[in-house]
């Protein structure tokens, strides 16, 4: 039977905690910026402007249908060839934002399209401008309708951010890998990492819950 020994993990807990902090920071920033990209993308996709819609379509389909690993690889190793060179951590953030933006665009678009036409008509009849209608009439119910899907995507983002270690960016997973290389206590490390990721996800879910209660708890229409 395998003898578990968590000593090496606890001896290096500070390393893992720092990694966890990096993951939180990276994914939080990516969520915020990704939300902005998603909203813009969804607006463009539901707008009447054809070329804009096509452009967003291409962006969404290319990003959604290719692996994140390859996207980040391209951004970090490929872009220097055309003179765009970023530090690993910046490249990781950029790649994550571009990635989550594509998924978010589609999710939010579905939310926007779920708003009954009558709501928009009422906004128009009140003389509200399209921007005001979007901002005050559409956004909140649209986000409410797809909120679980969107927050799931954000949790997924946090978990997949571990891929950034391929370009030597630092995060919780890479801290775990470093520790693994020094101690070879793989099971112990994986167990502790799993628990830490779980706690981070729990933290984010709690945050999403707070946001939901603040904005989306109005009684649903009959």
């Amino acid at each position: 039977m395998y003898q578990f020994n968590f000593q090496p993990v606890f001896d290096n807990l500070d390393l893992l905690l720092y990694g966890a902090w990096l993951t939180v920071r990276l994914s939080f920033l990516a969520m915020i910026l990704g939300l902005v990209v998603s909203l813009l993308g969804a607006v463009a996709k539901t707008s009447g402007i054809r070329p804009l819609r096509w452009l967003v379509d291409v962006y969404v389909e290319v990003i959604r249908n290719t692996p994140f690993l390859i996207q980040i690889f391209f951004i970090f190793f490929g872009l220097p060839a055309v003179g765009i060179s970023m530090s690993p951590n910046t490249a990781a953030l950029v790649a994550l934002v571009i990635n989550v933006g594509a998924y978010g665009t589609e999710i939010i678009r579905a939310g926007i399209e779920s708003i009954p036409k009558g709501q928009i008509e009422a906004g128009r009849a009140l003389g509200l401008s399209p921007v005001h209608i979007f901002r005050y009439v559409v956004v909140v119910p649209a986000l409410r309708n797809i909120y679980p899907a969107l927050t799931s995507q954000f949790i997924y983002l946090m978990l997949t951010s571990s891929v950034v270690s391929v370009i030597s960016a630092n995060d919780l997973a890479s801290a775990g890998a470093d520790l693994n290389a020094r101690t070879f206590a793989s099971f112990e490390i994986y167990l502790v990492l799993t628990v830490m990721y779980f706690l981070l996800a729990l933290g984010f879910s709690t945050l999403f819950g707070v946001v939901r209660r603040a904005f989306f708890t109005y009684p649903a229409s009959r």
């Binding site: 690889f73 220097p80 270690s165 391929v166 030597s168 890998a177 290389a181 070879f184 206590a185």
Partner: protein, 239 residues
């Protein structure tokens, strides 16, 4: 693993890397091949059983062994003190030497010159350990998932130094002839066949195999085939 069980099953499950040329590769038909594969076959032969090769990766090879999914690792596993606490090593059956390489123009002659430089290594590799040990304060070590990514960082100009084995550097030099050269040696590294702790009977047999193969020319022949020279002396003499 239990020697008797292996013998009665008639096969030994060997974990090996398939992404570490020329030690472990996959040939064009997808079959594992390379120095490790040949050693594994020779080992099986000496035990009088069939070798069943299980492809493993750098990060998961030790879990594979410890959880009993494979009986032995012939997986270019460098012998280090930390690893020796987890697994039992045979006598060395292969070796590589590790050095710092870099762009020809870069002036780095000794570890102290690394200060202020950015150097790429494969995470959790021997070169990672080696560079980390000697690098002075102010060195930025970038750890990539594997040698290929680290080399890509070098080729794309994201770093201008790399910790690499002589074997892999040979290949880099073919891709970018003359653009990079060796700066200084880090260490030489011998590799052992690993078994899970408590497999003493198996380990004894493996050790017997390695001793014989080192002296009767079996390993020289395989080494010649894959690396173009006989087994280096530092391997033969190491314990």
């Amino acid at each position: 693993a239990d020697l008797a069980a292996i013998e009665s099953a008639g096969t030994i499950k060997v974990g090996m890397l398939v992404d570490f040329p020329p030690f472990g590769i996959q040939d064009a038909s997808g079959t594992p091949d390379g120095y490790d594969a040949d050693v594994a076959k020779a080992l099986a032969e000496s035990l009088g059983v069939q070798a069943q090769i299980v492809p493993v990766t750098g990060p998961n090879r030790i879990p594979y062994l410890l959880s009993g999914q494979v009986d032995v690792l012939v997986a270019s596993l460098g012998i280090t003190e930390e690893r020796a606490q987890r697994v039992d090593f045979s006598a060395p059956y292969a070796g590589i030497s590790i050095a710092v390489y870099g762009a020809t123009g870069t002036e780095v002659a000794e570890p102290a010159d690394l200060a202020g430089q950015t150097i790429a290594v494969a995470r959790a590799s021997t070169q990672d350990t080696g560079v980390t040990e000697v690098a002075p304060e102010g060195t930025e070590i970038r750890r990539f998932d594997d040698d290929a990514s680290a080399v890509q960082a070098l080729l794309s100009g994201q770093v201008n130094l790399i910790g690499l084995s002589n074997v892999v550097f040979l290949q880099v030099d073919k891709v970018a002839a003359g653009k990079f050269d060796k700066k200084f040696d880090l260490s030489s590294q011998v590799q052992g066949i690993a078994v899970a702790p408590g497999s003493d009977a198996l380990l004894e047999k493996v050790n017997a195999f390695v001793q014989t193969a080192r002296s009767d020319g079996t390993l020289d022949e395989i080494h010649q085939k894959w690396l173009g020279e006989p087994l280096p002396d530092f391997v033969k003499t190491a314990e």
